[in-house]
C-alpha cells in the first residue's frame, strides 16, 4: 500500500489533454474523483473508472482527484495520473 506524501498535479487544459490534481486523502476516505469534461455524457463514467483503476493499480486507497478534461484519450489520462502520482512522491 502506497501513501501520497503531498498534493501534486500533471497535465494542462490544452485541447486533447487532461489536468489531474491529486490531494492526499485521510485513511478510510477512499478514492474521490471530481471530473469536468466536455464529454460527460458520452465518456464521463468511463473516464472516472479509468482514473480510479489507475490509482488502485498503484496501490492508492485514499485520495481526492480533481480532473479537468479537454477531450483526452485513455493513454493521455493514464500518463497524466501516473505522472501526478510520481510527483506526489508515491
Amino acid at each position: 500500500m502506497s501513501k501520497l506524501l503531498k498534493a501534486a498535479q500533471a497535465g494542462t487544459v490544452e485541447s486533447s489533454d487532461i489536468l489531474i490534481r491529486l490531494i492526499p486523502g485521510d485513511a478510510g476516505t477512499g478514492i474521490k474523483v471530481e471530473l469536468v469534461s466536455p464529454t460527460m455524457q458520452q465518456y464521463g463514467a468511463h473516464i472516472r473508472n479509468l482514473i480510479t483503476k489507475t490509482l488502485v493499480s498503484h496501490g492508492i486507497d485514499d485520495i481526492q482527484v480533481n480532473a479537468t478534461d479537454r477531450g483526452a484519450l485513455d493513454c493521455t489520462i493514464k500518463a497524466r495520473v501516473i505522472t501526478a502520482l510520481q510527483r506526489a512522491g508515491e
Binding site: A72, C75, A79
Partner: protein, 293 residues
C-alpha cells in the same frame, strides 16, 4: 530492400494532441521527442505520455524515441520507462563516442531479455552535434549492431563551429560529407538535419536536392507539410526509372549471352551501375506501394 527512412518526423513528447495524430501524415518514421521539445520540468510527463502512446496507439509507422543524453539526469529514466513499450528505435542526441552507444546497447539487451522481446529487435541511431562527435562518427556508427542510422543535428553543430546557418549551407558541407562517409563505411543510413523555417518552401526544396545528391538517405522534419516535399524529391524520376530498367535489361542480356561485357547504347556498364539500377527500381517499388506519397 532496407527500411525506408526518407522522412523522420519529430513529435513533441509532451503534447497529447500531437502524439495522437503523429501517424497520419505518412512519415516513414515518427520520433517521439523527450529531449529538446520538452521543458526540464516536464521530462517526467513526456516519458509517461510517450510510454502510453507507444503502448496503446497503433501508429502504423516505425516509432522512434529521442531520449535525453545519458549524461543528463533524464536519459536513463527515459530508457527505463520507455523500453518496456517496445519502441522500434532509440535515438541518442549529442553522441560523443562509441562508449555511450555500447552502454545503451547493453541496457537495451537487458530490457529485451526481461520483457521477452526478440534480441536485437530494438534499434538505435545517433545524432552527432559536435566536432568531436563528428570525428568519431564511424566509431559511433559501428559501436553496436543495433545502429541503423547516423544523423547530424545542425543547430548545435553550427554553434560549435562558431558560425551561423546560411541559405547556401556551405558551413555544413564538411560535416555532411564526413557523415555520409562514416555511415557508408559502417554500412548504415545517414539522415540530414531539421530545416526549421516552415514557410521557406524554396529553401527547403534546395536543401533536400543537395542532400540527396550527397547521398543522404533521408531528412528529419518537424512539420507534416514537409513530409510529402521530402518524399517527392527522394522519389526516382520517371527518367531515372526508365534508365534503370534499361540497364537491367542490358545486364540480363549479357548474362544470357554469357558475355563478359555489359553494354547499353554502345557504352560499357560496370557492375556498380547495375547495383545502382537495382537499388533505384527497388526504391521505386517500395515508394509506389506507399500511395505514391
Amino acid at each position: 530492400m532496407e527500411k525506408l527512412r526518407r522522412s523522420m518526423m519529430f513529435i513533441p513528447g509532451n503534447n497529447p494532441g500531437m502524439l495522437q495524430n503523429a501517424g497520419i501524415y505518412g512519415a516513414d518514421t515518427i520520433i517521439l521527442d523527450c529531449e529538446d521539445a520538452v521543458a526540464i520540468t516536464e521530462k517526467d510527463s513526456a516519458r509517461n505520455l510517450v510510454f502510453q502512446a507507444i503502448s496503446e496507439m497503433n501508429y502504423g509507422t516505425e516509432v522512434a524515441v529521442r531520449i535525453n543524453h545519458i549524461s543528463t539526469p533524464f536519459g536513463w529514466d527515459d530508457l527505463k520507462r520507455i523500453l518496456p513499450a517496445k519502441p522500434d528505435l532509440i535515438r541518442l542526441p549529442m553522441a560523443q563516442g562509441p562508449d555511450e552507444i555500447r552502454q545503451i546497447d547493453e541496457f537495451i539487451s537487458a530490457a529485451e531479455q526481461k520483457n521477452k522481446f526478440p534480441a536485437g529487435s530494438i534499434k538505435m541511431m545517433a545524432a552527432v552535434e559536435t566536432p568531436k562527435g563528428l570525428r568519431l562518427a564511424y566509431e559511433i556508427a559501428s559501436a553496436s549492431p543495433r545502429m541503423v542510422a547516423l544523423a547530424i543535428g545542425a543547430e548545435d553543430f553550427i554553434a560549435n563551429l562558431k558560425t551561423t546557418r546560411s541559405k547556401l549551407g556551405r558551413e555544413l558541407l564538411a560535416a555532411r560529407g564526413q557523415l555520409v562517409l562514416a555511415a557508408r563505411e559502417a554500412g548504415i543510413q545517414c539522415i540530414d538535419t531539421v530545416f526549421s523555417d516552415i514557410n521557406d518552401e524554396e529553401g527547403f526544396k534546395n536543401e533536400i536536392e543537395l542532400i540527396k545528391e550527397m547521398g543522404f538517405d533521408g531528412k528529419s522534419v518537424v512539420n507534416p507539410r514537409q513530409v510529402s516535399v521530402v518524399h517527392d524529391i527522394f522519389a526516382p524520376t520517371a527518367k531515372e526509372i526508365d534508365h534503370a530498367q534499361r540497364v537491367l535489361a542490358a545486364y540480363q542480356e549479357a548474362l544470357e549471352k554469357k558475355s563478359g561485357v555489359i553494354s547499353l547504347n554502345g557504352k560499357m556498364i560496370d557492375l556498380p551501375i547495375v547495383a545502382r539500377a537495382e537499388r533505384t527500381l527497388a526504391y521505386a517499388k517500395a515508394t509506389a506501394g506507399k500511395g505514391g506519397k
